[in-house]
């Protein structure tokens, strides 16, 4: 088993929580993993990405080789496309459709969504809306993780435990909200 994942978005969008959740799950599933993340200047509203590598064999590089990524999970529609050259021909693009507009020249959203639809393997969901619907508006990132879980090859219970671990400090209510967000995203991916 090998899964190479890029998680992308804008600094402050909860990319590291997605990575941390997969990390705890990998640990419990006794898989090897390496996760590289961005700290520093870009975290101030710039483009950020995290490389997450999972395998049942030892992993060498912290970075995914070009064109070998199995899945891009993007919390922002344009940001997912930014790393598209990293995606394997049969890889999946799982992305939020709500843009994060903090630049004056943000492209036309419809054009971005059209580009996303060009990929046969895409799941584009309005994660913000779904997060609100399940009563956990801050959990758009976990909605996307839920959708991605279809391709993760990690046991469902293990993933849920990992969510619990990541949000443990924030209390029961937040954990429950994230569970609902996770379920909603997962359902969409399975009903495709």
């Amino acid at each position: 088993m090998k899964k190479d994942i890029i998680i992308s978005g804008v600094g402050g969008q909860g990319i590291l929580s997605i990575a941390a959740t997969i990390g705890y799950a990998a640990l419990e599933a006794s898989l090897y993993f390496k996760q590289s993340e961005v700290h520093g200047m870009s975290q101030r509203g710039g483009e950020v990405q995290s490389h997450f590598r999972l395998s049942d064999k030892p992993i060498a590089s912290d970075l995914i080789p070009e064109g070998k990524t199995d899945m891009i999970i993007s919390v922002e529609p344009m940001e997912g496309l930014r790393y598209i050259s990293m995606l394997a021909p049969d890889g999946w693009l799982i992305t939020n459709t709500t843009p994060f507009v903090n630049i004056p020249n943000y492209p036309d959203l419809d054009k971005i969504l059209d580009e996303i639809k060009k990929f046969p393997n895409n799941i584009a969901i309005d994660a913000e809306k779904i997060a609100k619907e399940v009563g956990s508006p801050k959990s758009a990132n976990i909605v996307l993780l839920g959708a991605a879980s279809r391709f993760l090859d990690i046991d469902y219970e293990i993933l849920k435990n990992a969510i619990k671990t990541v949000f443990y400090k924030k209390g029961e209510e937040v954990i429950e909200g994230n569970f609902r967000a996770f379920e909603a995203g997962r359902k969409i991916a399975f009903n495709l």
Binding site: G11, G40, G45, S61, P65, E79, R82, S85, L87, P107
Partner: protein
């Protein structure tokens, strides 16, 4: 066997705690910050009474760590690569005095300049100072090398440089940790004269340092971190250092490279192994993260005779961070070009947060300077450097920490007025104070804006060393009371702020303007924590 999931930076910190460190000193700087932050919040560090501090700058950090080593205890100073420029004086000279308690300096390089002004390679400093350099390949080696580095430092009474790069610093993986070993007992040196670097003694100490070199070479040749992997195909021999090793093996099935590989993670360069690979192989490829340090050393000035490829000869790009594809391509491995990103994608540069106090300061400054030719705002490094970008376009320089005030003085000395320096509170304590003293002594007509957001924001909100002391420092340096102006940078007060700026821009002497309001990120974090505490009390 206990396993932990750690960033490269955290592995160094945990390694230090388990190897019996007594003190860690740092000035924040990406990608080194998380080493000291880990110790700051570690229960283990608290229990073992490990001293930690965010120092005024990297020079004071290295000197304090050296002091602790002088007193027999293990110590560490951590910084980003350019921090070692600031600390170069104590670093180079500590090699001559030598260490007593294990003494490690960590320098975190930033190839590709993700968050830095340059991509200088700290291995040159190790070479320059004649001290051993350790360069971990992965998180596990980062952890193990701290233990090993302290031992090496104590055995040869020498500082050890631990060099990492961004990718390792900020990548997480499993690390097997060891039993904790006890700290050293404090003891003053029996021969303190060796720390007195007056010429007669410095000459003696320098000779001692040079005499250690053959032994340090032996250590490298026998190091568990320098490894020779033999293979059948001798048409090529690969010399690879640190994290680049991972990118190399990533290109081969089961990580088996068909050519002989010499992996180097400890310097001085292991001569015996290098001779072997040159004897055995027809051509040599050197793969290293950073400058072509090993490659140029091996090629020499004339580059005659040996066939060596690497960054210098263009086989690998001369600048920027490596990755598996770049290394693969240097080996002739074909990479299918991936899908081209659509052209509508635009870059998303970092920017000030919505409502950041600095944004008000820039807005007011732009109004106050309207009518003057541009190019008269010298600035510095911090979140406020983003004021160089649209929509502000307010500042005209960012060179090295502290350079705003001193460069502004130079521009004023060249005859311009008004001239403005914009510097952050943490940068001011790092290296702005001395420059301000120069300006006061010369009565230079400059307006210094110390943008005080009560924290070191750019690197994630660490303690800012001059917090609560800035105006007292300025008074102490001799800035006149009526030209120290303090206000809260709020949008609703814009007119008032512009007025203050205009008044001081007109003054032909040193003025200090302090816009003071907390960084929104630290403010949010602090309020959340306080609310949680209050709730916990109620329950």
């Amino acid at each position: 066997m206990k396993k932990m999931v750690l960033l490269g930076d955290e592995a160094i910190a945990q390694g230090a705690l388990d190897a019996g460190i007594s003190g860690i000193y740092a000035y924040p700087g990406t990608p080194s910050t998380e080493i000291t932050e880990y110790v700051q919040f570690s229960k283990q560090a608290l229990q073992d009474n490990v001293k930690f501090s965010w120092c005024a700058n990297e020079k004071t950090a290295v000197e304090t760590a050296l002091g602790m080593s002088y007193a027999g205890l293990r110590s560490m100073a951590c910084m980003k690569h350019v921090g070692l420029n600031v600390a170069a004086d104590p670093f180079i000279n500590s090699a001559i005095t030598g260490a007593i308690g294990g003494f490690i300096v960590v320098a975190a390089d930033d190839p590709s300049m993700h968050s830095s002004q340059n991509e200088q390679d700290s291995r040159f400093y190790g070479d320059f100072a004649f001290v051993p350099v350790l360069e971990p390949t992965d998180q596990q080696e980062a952890y193990d090398m701290v233990h090993y580095g302290f031992d090496l430092s104590e055995k040869y009474e020498i500082p050890v440089l631990l060099r990492i790069t961004t990718r390792l610093a900020h990548s997480r993986s499993n690390v097997i940790v060891r039993e904790k070993r006890p700290q050293n007992k404090p003891k003053l040196p029996t021969d303190p004269i060796r720390f007195v670097l007056m010429p007669f003694n410095a000459r003696r100490r320098y000779k001692i340092l040079l005499d250690k070199q053959p032994d340090l070479l032996k250590e490298s040749e026998n190091s568990p971190f320098n490894r020779y992997f033999n293979a059948e195909d001798k048409s090529l021999g690969i010399i690879v250092s640190g994290i680049a090793y991972n990118y190399l093996v990533e290109n081969f099935e089961s990580h088996k490279v068909p050519f002989p590989v010499l992996k180097i993670s400890q310097y001085p360069l292991p001569k015996e192994q290098i001779e072997r690979i040159f004897d055995e192989c027809i051509e040599i490829l050197v793969i290293e993260e950073g400058y072509p340090f090993i490659e140029d050393k091996l090629r020499g000035f004339l580059g005659r005779g040996l066939k060596i490829r690497g960054r210098s000869d263009g086989s690998i790009p001369r600048t920027g961070e490596l990755n598996p594809s770049i290394v693969g391509k240097a080996l002739g491995i074909e990479y299918k070009t991936g899908i081209k990103p659509p052209e509508i994608i635009v870059p998303r540069p970092p920017s000030l947060c919505q409502g950041c106090p600095h944004s008000v300061t820039f807005e007011a400054l732009n109004i106050a300077l309207d009518g003057y030719s541009t190019g008269r705002v010298l600035s510095d490094i911090g979140c406020y450097t983003l004021g160089a970008l649209p929509p502000y376009n307010s500042i005209n320089s960012c060179v090295d920490m502290g350079a705003s005030i001193t460069m502004a003085k130079g521009v004023a000395d060249a005859g311009f007025h008004p001239v403005v320096a914009v510097i952050g509170d943490s940068t001011f304590s790092h290296s702005g104070i001395t420059g301000l003293l120069d300006a006061v002594n010369d009565k230079s007509p400059i307006t210094v804006i110390i943008a005080d957001n009560l924290t070191t924001a750019m690197t994630g909100g660490q303690f800012s060393p001059s917090i609560g002391k800035i105006e007292d420092i300025c008074r102490g340096l001799g800035v006149e009371e009526e030209h120290i102006r303090i206000f809260e940078p709020h949008h609703r007060k814009l007119n008032e702020i512009v007025q203050i700026l205009k008044e001081e821009l007109n003054y032909r002497g040193v003025s200090v303007i302090i816009p003071r309001r907390e960084c929104l990120v630290t403010l949010t974090k602090r309020t959340r924590e306080e609310r949680k505490k209050a709730q916990a009390k109620k329950v």
